[in-house]
């Protein structure tokens, strides 16, 4: 498969041929990806695809068994201070000291982040509607996510890393998180890497994506290019078909009777050639959503 050109100077994260096993289970296999500076990079994949394991490698929590991981050109395992000091990280379950009050978060976080911006932290706190006197262990799930986001953002990191940030949160909090993503990239030169299984979110805010399926990258590159490479046709047959039509280059075919929908990966201008079938016409032809592309690949990527 084609990878975006690895211009290492511009790659905030560069991963090459990373594989990882946990016992007999292969969690990541030959993963290569490059996150360009200033981009919003969306990592998609179903639960258990290896997203969190990949993120742990970027954070230096796991050492690459095979392959290399570089963040800002450095090895995050060998150089954790230089790497983590410039990364803002929000996990699915932010790990914050529960006994602490919201207003004390700054003092806590300043210990890790020398660039902590007090004024910005206060601005975010007010914007997120967090009560300064409230203890962290009494916050709702949504408020906890916001507190985690505040800690991840207030030192203005070069790289904001979000692992399933919207998981299980209501639409209002999800909106706040996406807004934070936008704000971060709108600030000159900052980069966001985030994983999600909510493809609508990824499609909205990302310019680069990678699709992880059973530990392998099945798609990687600019969202626009990936979308332009796919087409979704609906065919109408004169007579009902008992089994799916045979179509060259189809990623997936679904339907029944007279109407079948085909997802194709290839040149945009070409309609699908239907083997041995003259009695079909194309009744719909459009660019699929990321969700449709994902489903088509997830269905065929495992042999």
């Amino acid at each position: 498969m084609k990878l975006p050109s690895p211009s290492s100077a511009e790659a905030v994260v560069a991963i090459t041929d990373l594989s990882r096993r946990f016992g007999p289970k292969t969690v990541l296999k030959d993963v290569s990806l490059y996150v360009p500076r200033g981009s919003v990079f969306g990592l998609v994949g179903e639960n258990g695809a290896g997203k969190t394991t990949l993120i742990k490698h970027i954070l230096g929590l796991l050492r690459a068994e095979t392959g290399t991981v570089r963040v800002f050109g450095l090895d995050p395992v060998d150089d954790p201070v230089a790497v983590l000091g410039n990364v803002g990280y929000l996990s699915e379950q932010p790990d914050l000291p529960g006994w602490m009050r919201v207003e004390e978060l700054g003092r806590y976080a300043q210990a890790f982040y020398p660039n902590w911006d007090k004024a910005y932290a206060e601005k975010l706190r007010a914007q997120f509607g967090l009560d300064p006197a409230q203890r962290l262990n009494t916050l709702s799930k949504g408020q906890t996510a916001k507190a985690g986001l505040l800690v991840a953002q207030a030192h203005r990191p070069k790289l904001l890393l979000l692992d399933e940030p919207s998981s299980g949160l209501d639409p209002m909090v999800r909106h706040d998180i996406l807004e934070a993503v936008i704000r971060t990239v709108a600030d000159e030169g900052r980069t966001v890497f985030f994983s999600s299984h909510l493809l609508e979110e990824i499609e909205r805010v990302s310019d680069q994506i990678a699709m992880l399926h059973h530990g392998r990258i099945v798609l990687c590159g600019s969202l626009d290019e990936i979308k332009a490479r796919h087409r979704r046709f609906t065919l109408h047959f004169k007579t009902a078909q008992l089994k799916p039509p045979v179509i060259a280059g189809a990623l997936s075919i679904s339907g029944a009777g007279k109407e079948w929908t085909v997802m194709c990966n290839g040149a945009r201008a070409e309609p699908p050639s239907i083997a041995g079938e003259e009695d079909a016409r194309i009744i719909e032809d459009r660019v699929p959503s990321l969700n449709e592309i994902f489903v088509a690949h997830a269905g065929t990527a495992v042999a």
């Binding site: 807004e179 709108a186 909205r204 660019v287």
Partner: protein, 131 residues
């Protein structure tokens, strides 16, 4: 400026923005000389990537819908470029298609539909005079 993005219908988001701005201009909800929100503000409002908004603005600039003024921002173009007339026609064409489809299903032929349009227009004019 109210724009709504549907992220799951396959139409690229920058094209959705372009089409909706054109629609707002054609329908008069955005007037010539109105200032467009900055790329950053619109990106945050819609929660879409700023590059996507930038691309939409570039496209709108190329087609003459908006004009960038040195350093101050982006404004809806003065005057009425030919494109806007085309855009109005495009909006009406989709309505016309819907009307014709319905007429066909009800087995009403084209001359009847045209006659009906003239009648309705006459009624509208009368009502306007009556006010």
């Amino acid at each position: 400026m109210q724009i709504r993005i549907a992220s799951d219908d396959g139409v690229p988001i920058y094209i959705q923005i372009v089409n909706q701005v054109k629609h707002l201009v054609a329908s008069g909800r955005l007037a010539p000389g109105d200032e467009m929100p900055s790329i950053r503000v619109l990106a945050e409002q819609l929660t879409v990537n700023p590059n996507t908004v930038a691309r939409a603005y570039l496209e709108l600039e190329h087609t003459g819908v908006v004009t960038k003024r040195n350093g101050t921002g982006t404004y809806v173009s003065e005057g009425r470029p030919a494109m806007l007339q085309r855009e109005k026609i495009r909006i009406l064409a989709s309505r016309a298609d819907a009307l014709l489809t319905e007429a066909r299903q009800l087995d009403v032929d084209l001359s009847e539909v045209v006659k009906l349009l003239r009648e309705r227009n006459a009624v509208m004019l009368e009502e306007e005079i009556g006010k």
